[in-house]
Every structure is written in structure tokens, then in C-alpha cells.
Amino acid sequence: MKNNNDIILKDINKSYQKGDNTVVVLDHFNLTINSGEFVALMGPSGLGKSTLLHLMGGLDQPTSGEMVIGAQRIDNLKEAQFTKWRAENIGFVFQSHHLLPVLSAQGNVELPLALTPLNKKQRQEHASYALELVGMSDRSKHYPKELSGGQEQRVAIARAIVSDPNILLCDEPTGNLDRKTANEILAILAQLNRDFGKTIVMVTHDNKAAEYATRVINLESYMLEQNKCTVGEN
């Protein structure tokens, strides 16, 4: 499983019911992301980028179609199985860091390890290492309100990688940051992809951010190419 983190979406349909209307977001959508790729998903708002990310992360389920991630079919998992699978395989980085204000940076990073059999000492060691990777060792005891936006996002990345997931899903991770800080965050993501083989899928509107990716998918043109797209709401 560690060697195969391919993300394969086959004939995915995703639609929402909005009042009496059915809004189609993804229509017979196909996509393959290979293990170790750093993919930037771009395109106009409302095209379904975040929906795609949520589907890959098991936060949402397709209306129909097949999703295989790391040789495991996930579209037919039950909620409890999804939760467990997500904890073991996926790390999320959101535009807003969603750190818990009552926990220190160390506490926030340790949180996902509560889902593992690690003991307290091991959890502390893992969290310290993750914070070191994102250059936040010296801020481990600080609370989110004592950190800058960039530092908070670094801690969020440390939280995403602390349980060593194969795949990182990032939803506009630099959307709230200035250019310099954004570049620092993107450099960390690129390092995680390059040095640790993490498969990264990043939704972004920022062309500069996309330059850090190994592949850029413009969803609008990609869907047109597939000739099966229907533009819907995100």
C-alpha cells in the first residue's frame, strides 16, 4: 500500500439536490493521479475542485462511479470504515488552518495520533519531528493565537503529516497568506513530495503556487478534453 498511492477516479458522477433542481457537479469524470505526484488542481470557482478533493479524501461520496485509492476501492466504504481509512491514509490541509485554540502547536499536532496505538511519549516524539520538518520546533509550546498565519499553516501541515499518511489533500493552503509566506508553505509541501514521496493534490487559484506542483490540471480544459463535462456548482 505504501508503494501504491495511485488515485483512480472512474466514471464519477456527483450531483446535489437543491430544492427541486438537481445540480450536476461531476459528470462521468475520470482522473488518475499516480503515486508520488504533486498535482495542482486549478480552474474557475464552482467547477468542482473542492468537491473532487473531498471525494478523494472520503469526506463526501460520489453519486455513482468507482474510486480506487492505493489499490483499495473506497466509494463503497461505510462511514466507520471511511473514518478509519481517512485517519490512516489521508492528511488534510485547509485554507483556514482549523487549529484548536485551546491546544498548543504541539497539542494540535499530537491530536491525530490519538487515533493510533502510540503511547504518550511516542506521540510527543512524532509531533516534535513533524514540527521540526515544518520548521516550527521553537514554537511548539505556543498557542495558535500567538502564531502568525504562516506559522499556523505550518502547524496545520505538521498535523496533516504527523501520522505519516500517503496522501496530502490541500484545499487552497496558501489562500490566506502573503506571497513570501505562501512560498515558504509551498516549499514545505514540495519537500514533503520530493523527499518523503507524499502524493499531494492541491486545489489552488494561484499560478505561482501551481509552479511548485509536478503536474497542473486545469479542470475546465481537462473536462473539455474529456468531452464529458458539465459545468455545475461547487
Binding site: A80, R86, L103
Partner: protein, 413 residues
């Protein structure tokens, strides 16, 4: 077997996750303390009302249960449910006293206590220096007792002053009355039925209901209340209390007697159950209505807590925390609110009112009965259980909502 082990393992993991989230919730709870205050106060009120009802009925029950002896037989007029309703004549006392089942003393006299019981309107003044205070009035039980009465009150003890003098308007008062009305001291004069009586002493009787009574010489009471030589109740000591059913039958068949026979213990136990039933009938419905209100308050608080933390909950879900763990942590927070609320209700009540002497109208004899507010650990646990139950019910629906919270929507909002 394997499935069971797997289930246990899964439960343990869920509980471990729930514990981690609960610790976080508790850490952030001070930030929501003010918002949760309304719920806490509502729950506190319910706990306080429930505890008051329980403490009152427990206090009354204990007071009445401490009264009366197992081997003492109380005799009243047939049909009388209280001593106040009864009237008996000396001839009846003689017939009863001469029965061979009644214990005799060394002189061969039957151990019998003939007693008068009057619902007396007591008037007294509360002297504070030269300030003129209007006369106060209260309805109390005045018991006329004879020499042998004390043999039926093994716990009787004069705590201050001395015994009243026969043939004089003197009386002794129970210490529950003295506690409730500290201005009634030894030597003070009070008015009963228009006549002046002097308090000669204060007595205790093992916290029994007799401590809510005034005791005086039976002859003086008969005379002052114009009862001639009638009495109202007789107490007898039987050689063997097991003979009571047979004896009651014998007396019932005797055409000279028209009486009701009951053990003294049973008589006061019946009064206790009537009184406490009344309190519970009034108190419990109030507590239930308040509990429903408190549940709604708890429900609102928890819904608000979830609404304000939907992103946090969604993040927990995205990280991989199970819906069960999330719901459990919400429930634990609701229980924490209920626990603090319960303490708000129980602690002040305990600190201020435990042991406090309260008074109520004893419907069976129309007099004031004093009893102690008795807040025991068991009652506090009962009140706290109700508070936690309210928290549990109030937290249940919000917990289910948090469990089903759609992550994608919560993160997008």
C-alpha cells in the same frame, strides 16, 4: 469469539478517541461558560427544588418515624384518625388498664398514660429592648400529660429549666419549638386560650414529633379548655405486643368500649406517609415541569455550542475521529454543564439549610410540626442524578446532530 474481541477493540479505540476530544472540550469549556450559565442555573434550580422536596419529606419522615414505640399501644375513639378527633372517658381508661395483658408496676398499677391533646393558639411577644413589637400568634399542639406519661417517652430529657408544677399554669416546650422560636425562653410567659402560662423548661425527645409540642399538666389543660374529665388518647404498655390483634378483637367485642387500637409506631408512620405523599404530589410535578424547562435550556446551549464549533467538529471528522467519539464528547460536555448546574443547586442548599428547623401544618392535628431539613449524601446524589439525567437528555439530540454533521458543508461555511 473473534467478532466479540474485534468489537471490544473497536469500542476501546472509540472510547480513547472520545476521551481525547472530551479533554479538549473541557479545556475550551471556560470560553463557553457564560453561554452555558443559563442552562446551569436552570438545572441548578431543578436540583434545588428536587432536593428541597426530598429533604423536606425525608426530614418529616424521620421526625415522625422517630416518634412512637413498637410495644406501646395507642387507643383512641373508634373512627378517629388523630388524637384531636378522639374523646374518651375515665371509665374506658379503667376497663383498658385492668386488662391482664397490660404491664403493671411494682405497686400493681397498670402502666397507662391518659393524655389530652389540644390545638392551641399560642400568643407571645418578641421583646427587643423597649421597642414595642406586635403580639405574634401560632397554632401549636398542647399535650396534657400525666405522671406516667414519661414512662412512654424513653428519650425524654429536660435540656433546660425544670418540669412544670402540677396544678399551676406552667408548661415545658419541645426543643424544636425553641429552635424555631428562640425568643421562647425558660421563664417567659405566653398566652394559650386567653390564659397566661409560664415556660418552666425545654425538653428534647430524640428529635421526635413530640418536640413540636407544649406539654402541661393534664388537669390544667382539661380545666382551661373545659373538657371536664374527658381525655383524648390512652397509651398502654402490653406484656406481649403480639397479643395485640387478639386484644383488639376482644375490646372491639366489648359493648362498653368503642375504640380504635393501633401501635404508636404505626400511628405516626401512617401520619408520615400521608404528609410526605402530599409534599411529593405537590413537589414532584413542579420539579418535573422545571426539569422539562431545564432540558430545553440544555438543548439550546448544546445546539449553540455545536453551531459555534461546527468547523472544529468537521476538522475532527476530517482528521479521522469517529462520529461516536464526537457524539460522546458532546454528551460529556452536556453532563459537565449538568454537573456544575447540579452543584449550583445542591451546595447552597446544603450549606444554608442542612439541619435547619422548618415548620409545616400537620393536617392530621392542625398544629405546626417542626422538622429538620435533612440533606444527606444519598439525597444529594439523587438530586445530582436528576441534574445529570437532564444533561444527558439535553445533550443527546445535539450529540446526534454533531455525529451527522456534513463535513464538507461545515468546512465550506
Amino acid at each position: 469469539m473473534r467478532t466479540s474481541a474485534k468489537n471490544n477493540h473497536s469500542l476501546l479505540i472509540n472510547l480513547k478517541q472520545a476521551q481525547a476530544l472530551t479533554v479538549i472540550n473541557f479545556k475550551s469549556f471556560p470560553q463557553r461558560f457564560t453561554v452555558s450559565l443559563v442552562s446551569m442555573l436552570s438545572i441548578g434550580c431543578v436540583a434545588a427544588v428536587m432536593l428541597s422536596v426530598l429533604a423536606m419529606s425525608e426530614g418529616m419522615m424521620k421526625t415522625l418515624q422517630r416518634t412512637g414505640l413498637d410495644n406501646t399501644v395507642l387507643v383512641m375513639r373508634a373512627g378517629a384518625t388523630s388524637e384531636l378527633q378522639s374523646v374518651m372517658f375515665p371509665v374506658e381508661v379503667n376497663i383498658l388498664a385492668n386488662n391482664s395483658n397490660v404491664i403493671k408496676n411494682k405497686q400493681g398499677e397498670a402502666i397507662v398514660s391518659a393524655e389530652m391533646f389540644v390545638n392551641a393558639e399560642m400568643k407571645y411577644t418578641n421583646d427587643v429592648g423597649d421597642i414595642e413589637i406586635p403580639e405574634l400568634s401560632i397554632s401549636l399542639a398542647l399535650r396534657g400529660i400525666s405522671k406516667s406519661t414519661q414512662q412512654f417517652r424513653p428519650n425524654f430529657n429536660l435540656v433546660s429549666g425544670k418540669m412544670f408544677v402540677t396544678g399551676v399554669r406552667q408548661l415545658i416546650i419541645g426543643q424544636a419549638i425553641a429552635r424555631r422560636m428562640p425568643e421562647l425562653t425558660v421563664g417567659k410567659t405566653i398566652t394559650l386560650g386567653g390564659a397566661q402560662w409560664q415556660i418552666s423548661g425545654i425538653f428534647s425527645d430524640g428529635n421526635s414529633v413530640f418536640e413540636s409540642e407544649l406539654w402541661a399538666d393534664i388537669g390544667m389543660v382539661q380545666s382551661d379548655y373545659r373538657r371536664g374529665n374527658t381525655i383524648q388518647s390512652i397509651r398502654l404498655a402490653l406484656k406481649d405486643i403480639n397479643n395485640l390483634p387478639a386484644l383488639a378483637k376482644e375490646w372491639q367485642d366489648d359493648p362498653r368500649l368503642n375504640i380504635r387500637v393501633i401501635t404508636e409506631k404505626q400511628f405516626f408512620a401512617d401520619q408520615a406517609s400521608n404528609l410526605t405523599r402530599l409534599i411529593r404530589w405537590i413537589g414532584f410535578p413542579i420539579a418535573i415541569v422545571m426539569a422539562l424547562g431545564a432540558m430545553v435550556a440544555a438543548l439550546n446551549t448544546m445546539y449553540a455550542a455545536i453551531a459555534s464549533r461546527s468547523k472544529e467538529i468537521a476538522t475532527h471528522k476530517a482528521i479521522g475521529f469517529s462520529p461516536f467519539a464526537i457524539a460522546t464528547s458532546i454528551l460529556c460536555e452536556a453532563l459537565l454543564i449538568a454537573f456544575v448546574g447540579g452543584l449550583f443547586g445542591i451546595l447552597p442548599l446544603y450549606l444554608v439549610f442542612d439541619g435547619w428547623t422548618a415548620a409545616t401544618q400537620n393536617a392530621s392535628n392542625l398544629s405546626q410540626m417542626m422538622f429538620n431539613f435533612d440533606i444527606s449524601l444519598l439525597l444529594a446524589i439523587k438530586a445530582m442524578s436528576l441534574a445529570l439525567f437532564i444533561g444527558l437528555i439535553g445533550g443527546l439530540l445535539p450529540a446526534l446532530k454533531a455525529m451527522r454533521l456534513p463535513v464538507t458543508e461545515a468546512l465550506r461555511d
